[in-house]
Symmetry: C2
């Protein structure tokens, strides 16, 4: 195993840039960065970037960490959502930071069927 | 506040590269990356790089997230350790990944006086 990963741990800079696929195999985007709780020390959201060109018109999708499963064959994360349904998922535009409050959190986690 | 930070959350790529200071004001190094628990979704260690030149002879110091306090004036983290005592702290060389197991974890956390 590489230096940036062990059986139980993974480096933040390895997660960033990793591809994300739908369960039916479509490539959805990449993990742009993680939003971490300053006090909790937890990954509150993984932020997936989607679409756009040279960083323009990109959309961002906050996804709970627990909703991402790593697929060694695809060398990327798999999330239980179809590409065609992505437009219904909680999203925000580049440069438009959402208010990551409790209500937003509950909405995002509920969307992916993960406990908040 | 910038888009990569809210009052309670911070982006992983903003943490990476942030300077770390001792309580008496010496610059110790920078946060190189975070080691995240794949299952726990927690920041298990912040890895601080220290010394070296152009990436050579760098040392890495695993530091518990809770042992880092953000100092807005210095625009960096402060850790309760003096630079002169850094050589006694748990460390590993570049390219030599430690076994991040429970024993290692307890040693690191105990060193910084943080609950494991």
């Amino acid at each position: 195993m590489e230096r940036d990963e062990t059986s139980t741990l993974i480096s933040s800079d390895k997660v960033e840039g990793t591809k994300v696929f739908s369960t039916d195999g479509d490539e959805l985007g990449r993990i742009e960065h993680l939003m971490l709780g300053k006090r909790s020390g937890r990954i509150e959201y993984s932020v997936m970037s989607f679409g756009g060109f040279l960083g323009m018109n990109e959309s961002y999708f906050p996804i709970p960490w627990d909703a991402l499963d790593y697929d060694t064959e695809r060398d990327g994360y798999v999330v239980n959502i179809e590409k065609s349904r992505l437009k219904e998922a909680p999203t925000f535009a580049k440069g438009v930071q959402p208010v990551f409050d409790e209500q937003f959190g509950r909405t995002v986690y509920a969307y992916y069927g993960v406990m908040y």
